[in-house]
Point group: C2
Chain length 443, copies 2
């Protein structure tokens, strides 16, 4: 019973809560039961206080519905400040740290009546040093990072939705490895306020869920008008249908092999090509396109911007707690400190040019389809995998949705990303949902 | 003696510290003496612990010089987190709040051996609700905001340099009213980490000083390579000369009247035109240019982006402490919550287009010259003045330097801004210094 209930999507469950068929408390208890059963294997949570979660649910059950997701639990990556739960940013330096306020996005979720279930594990300062979180599809493998706990918790049916951040590839990559949807919105469209800043030019706040409808519903609540607004209070979940373009029956998809394509193993390339062909057979207009030459420099530019901005952001920790930083992170910060501002400005200039030129990619196509990852989730927990195939899109700031449905050579999900034009997140989500339904039928 | 010593610029004083002529402790005591004498009139500081400042100075005096600004005091706007001083962000909600870490820029300054003198007053959450800080040039007038205390402290010779932030016009405006240099860098070029975020698309970290040389020196230390790097330790202050372009003897200045020009009083227009003409007589090539029509929409776009991003960032405070927000701020947040995402995205799209097109403005000109403010500092402390003439440039992200030297009809400084091309901050600073020296001779 617990598993089935905790495995429902938000859009499935809110109707049941609204009609009184189930209570928020029952739903939250189902999630907590699932966590109790599985957490010793998955290690998705860094803070979880079942009593606090149940109290929130009971408050929801006895108060008027405040939004379409009233009473629904959500997992919060431990990079987001929470006023009632400690927040350690994945670093021993901040063990037990209690922020004084909620992050903007968390405050919006609470205001809308969401139950803040707990805080999910992340790699050290959302970068490379891994957690002990395992991949629910194969606990001998990494769930990816940095939003390791959020991806694993959603994939393992512990919670329907969880927040994430992406500075390099921290949403798209774990979503791919765990076989769920990961959504990195248009740069800046979900508030980063109260989320530990690493790189102002790259940090994105996004979400994980098992359906694109859930992603859209949560995004609307976080970014939308006042959740107390009458239009929100009376809205039915069905009001929040994705905005399908008129021609979504025949989406125009550009299959982009990107300059990093040759780095993929042949077995991976074949599967992605097969998936693109399948979407064509299923009614999409699929064309292969290549990117302008200068886009080839974006991965290096992303690295430069990351190193410089990160090394400034973590100056205090670098100077005061060098022994409590991993060698890996210490090295990245030190490297960033040796990069001259001229090189940094050159990298930003290239990014600005390519951002501008990227709009031309969508002249004849609704969205792009590109690889998410090098392959299936890596075996062992020593690394969260390579973000290479995410870097360019993070720097461009375009909305990206990692879609499950493509199977890798080892039978695990491979992930591919649908990339939309700037600010057309609904379109990217719609096509990702459409494509995923079709690809799931592939062997 | 105190006044003279606290009135020296950093570039003047570091030579004396290095040669042993004065100690950091003497300098800091001179600043504290000046503050003691004047603070009951100016109200620039929200936290000042003289003992803590002197201990820092003594540590500098007994340790090896760590950078060219070793031992120099700096004021920190109380929007920047400091690990050893409370940080209240200009709001009663955060009275007594003690952050766990320094902001990235503060950490860099400490590492370089700067003395963190104290925290300066700002308007409520760096927006409109004023402080009791007065204008050192006429205490019956506002120093401008939101960086009120930083601008007043520097203008009153309490400290040579202070940090600021600009989301609307919070550096350029107070610098203009107080008759000092204010520097809003290229968007994103000084780390915002640990600075309370209000609007991710608009927040800039910058500086106030009485010379452009000080602005450049501090910027290099905050953004530069590892301050412990041998090249920094051995550098003489003179190594940090501004990078004058070869042709700075004849800078090419575009005088931009902006779409808001008609809002200026004739007495102000005349003075700005006279200043532009004076620069031409003094050797600059000055041409009047107008902006492309679509730039006329930038002020409204800036407002839209401000309201939406602010209303997300302050969601926690809005929901939990509505009674401790000023009516003014409460109204702005409420307004932001009624703006649809489509309007917000349109505003961002216009900004991206104009940012791209702004590079053409610099094809035939080194820099732009534009008004900073409507006029002299407003009488009374009820308002920090109108940021109208800053909004467009903040949204475009171009480097801006407010230069003193133009006198208003009431004998107080008027301020004008030199705007450079993206990432050419050194050029904007150089021309601002050049122009200010010439304008100071005007009656």
């Amino acid at each position: 019973m617990s598993v089935e209930l905790s495995g429902l999507s938000t859009t499935e469950v809110v109707g049941k809560i609204r009609s009184g068929e189930i209570s928020s408390e029952e739903l939250v208890r189902a999630c907590l039961d699932r966590i109790e059963k599985r957490e010793s294997t998955i290690h998705a949570w860094t803070f979880l206080d079942p009593k606090l979660a149940i109290v929130q649910a009971q408050q929801c059950d006895t108060s008027e519905a405040r939004s379409p997701l009233h009473g629904v639990p959500v997992g919060i990556k431990d990079q987001f400040d929470t006023a009632d739960m400690p927040t350690a940013y994945g670093s021993p330096i901040y063990e037990g740290h209690q922020p004084g306020a909620d992050a903007g996005s968390v405050a919006r979720l609470r205001e809308a009546g969401a139950v803040i279930l707990g805080k999910t594990k992340l790699t050290e300062f959302a970068l490379y040093h891994p957690t002990d979180t395992t991949n629910p599809l194969d606990p001998a493998r990494s769930p990816g990072g940095s939003s390791s706990g959020s991806a694993a918790a959603v994939a393992d049916f512990m919670v329907p939705v969880a927040t994430g951040t992406q500075t390099v590839g921290s949403i798209i990559r774990p979503a791919s490895y765990c076989g769920i949807f990961g959504y990195k919105p248009t740069f800046g469209s979900i508030s980063r306020s109260g989320v530990l800043p690493l790189c102002a030019s790259l940090d994105h706040v996004g979400l994980f869920a098992r359906t694109v409808e859930d992603l859209e519903l949560f995004t609307k609540v976080i970014t939308g008008t006042h959740p107390h607004h009458p239009s929100m209070r009376t809205a039915q979940p069905t009001d929040f249908d994705l905005r399908h373009p008129d021609d979504l029956e025949r989406p125009r998809i550009a299959f982009v092999k990107t300059p990093q394509w040759p780095e993929l193993d042949v077995s991976i390339r074949t599967r992605l090509e097969k998936a693109a062909a399948q979407l064509g057979e299923d009614g999409a207009e699929v064309h292969e396109i290549s990117l302008p030459g200068k886009f080839g420099g974006l991965v290096e530019a992303q690295n430069t911007i990351l190193e410089v901005e990160l090394s400034c952001a973590l100056s205090y920790e670098f100077e005061n707690y060098p022994d409590r930083l991993s060698d890996l992170l210490y090295g990245v910060i030190e490297q960033g400190r040796s990069v001259g501002m001229d090189k940094y400005f050159e990298a930003r200039k290239l990014a600005a040019e390519c951002r501008w030129e990227s709009s031309a990619l969508f002249r004849d196509h609704d969205v792009l389809l590109a690889p998410s990852v090098r392959g299936e989730a890596p075996v062992g927990l020593g690394s969260t995998g390579d973000p290479l195939f995410c870097q360019m899109w993070t720097l461009l700031g375009l909305p990206c949705v990692s879609l499950p449905g493509i199977q890798g050579p080892g039978g695990l999900p491979l992930g591919a990303q649908i990339i939309g034009p700037m600010h057309k997140d609904g379109l990217a989500l719609s096509v990702a949902g459409w494509a995923s339904r079709r690809l799931c039928r592939l062997p």
